[in-house]
């Protein structure tokens, strides 16, 4: 039986912006239950690579396969299984935290899950306050609350730990671990070490993959 195609595989992806090669023939593989950490100094193209994976940017050469099929064939399927968290938290400041969360996850506003998600990101009292009263960190938590209730299979997170205190960071790590154990997979870019059981670290500079196991967790 042929090996079941990996969830996501990237075949020598190149991206050029104004004649400068931002991404140069990147090859990657990601199967279910795996976490891939993209490393590299600032300006090495981490965010560009993540945006290529979310199909927001179209590569100049090479292509991306989702479960064996190219993105252009199964675009809607891939995007409905995808959750992307960028630098910006995509929170509408005139709406309340609850309304924002219901828009992001597509769930109706009255359902219980929304409120419990907001509670676990310490926004209990703020669910019906317009978001312009919240601080940047709190607005970020509204976006992160999605991780608790989203059923997307593939998470793509761009610097999820930015502007978060240590307590927030550990919350995000727990969510990711729960997601991985449940068979989902995560691609993230960050500078901090990630305390997750199995981490595959891909460095953009020398395009090497290193496995790292933290067995103390």
């Amino acid at each position: 039986m042929v090996a079941e195609p990996s969830l996501l595989s990237v075949k020598d992806l190149c991206f050029e912006r104004d004649d400068t090669q931002v991404i140069d023939s990147v090859c990657l593989d990601l199967s279910d239950g795996e976490l891939l950490q993209i490393e590299g100094p600032n300006g090495s193209g981490k965010t560009t690579l993540l945006r290529l994976l979310t199909s927001a940017l179209t590569p100049t050469r090479g292509n991306i396969y989702y479960q064996g099929r190219t993105l252009s064939d199964c675009r809607f399927e891939y995007l409905s299984e995808l959750l992307f968290l960028g630098h910006q938290s995509a929170v509408k400041v005139t709406l309340s935290a609850e309304e924002n969360l219901s828009w992001m996850t597509g769930r109706s506003r009255t359902c219980e899950e929304l409120l419990s998600a907001l509670d676990s990101v310490e926004l209990t009292g703020y669910s019906d306050v317009p978001c312009y009263r919240l601080s940047a960190g709190q607005q970020r938590r509204v976006a992160l609350a999605q991780l608790l209730i989203s059923n997307a299979k593939l998470w793509i997170l761009d610097e999820p730990f930015a502007a978060l205190d240590s307590q927030g960071v550990s919350l995000v790590e727990q969510c990711m671990q729960k997601h991985l154990d449940g068979g989902g997979s995560v691609v993230l870019s960050t500078h901090q070490p990630v305390s997750i059981k199995a981490v595959r670290r891909y460095s953009l500079m020398d395009q090497s993959i290193r496995e790292q196991f933290n067995n103390d967790l």
């Binding site: 945006r51 927001a56 995007l79 409905s80 992307f84 630098h87 938290s89 929170v91 005139t94 317009p130």
Partner: protein
Amino acid sequence: MISNTGFWAFLRRDLLLINRRRGEVASPLIFFIMAATFVPLGTTPDAELLKDIAPGIIWVMALLATLLSAESLFASDYHDGSLEQMLISPQLLVMPVLGKVTAHWLTTGLPLTLVSPFLGLLLSLPAAGYLPMMAGLAVGTGCLSLLAALGAALTVSLQKGGLLLTLIVMPLYMPVIIFGSATAQYSIQGLAWSGPLAILGAMLALAIALCPVAIANVLRLTTIN
């Protein structure tokens, strides 16, 4: 069905967003009325002269009011990142674009049309001109919103995009204003005004068919540059 994709979801969301800042809906209207009152001050208050140019003046002011409010279409979504989320959500990008433009029309084009009779009084528009003026505006402001959305999409990522937006979109407004004011002038001169109105309707149909496709492609290009 996830309720955050598609035409109705974005129409409802944008109307909710605009509803939260109801004051902003009034600004194009106030501009519309104030700018129109400048004309009699600038030219002559004499009704005889004004009634010939009244339809044209009302149309020019409606056009400028739409342009004034066009920038807000994508700007706030671009700055908080929800425009990028819209690009990668599982939907045909044309649908949310149509939803947003319809919401923009409902909050600028329609109010302009409803207020225009009041302006007709100010500029001594002959009685025969009122109904065709409103019909023309109702159809024409649809075209204006769609073309303004195209300009807004093209200049969404630019800091000083507002001026460039008007520069790009105004040449495309020429046919709309020609046939828009023609609708009212024909009926003032006693001719059948369904002809120019039909051509306006054709332009609206063409704009609805082509503009969202162009806007979707432009958004993919300018949102992440």
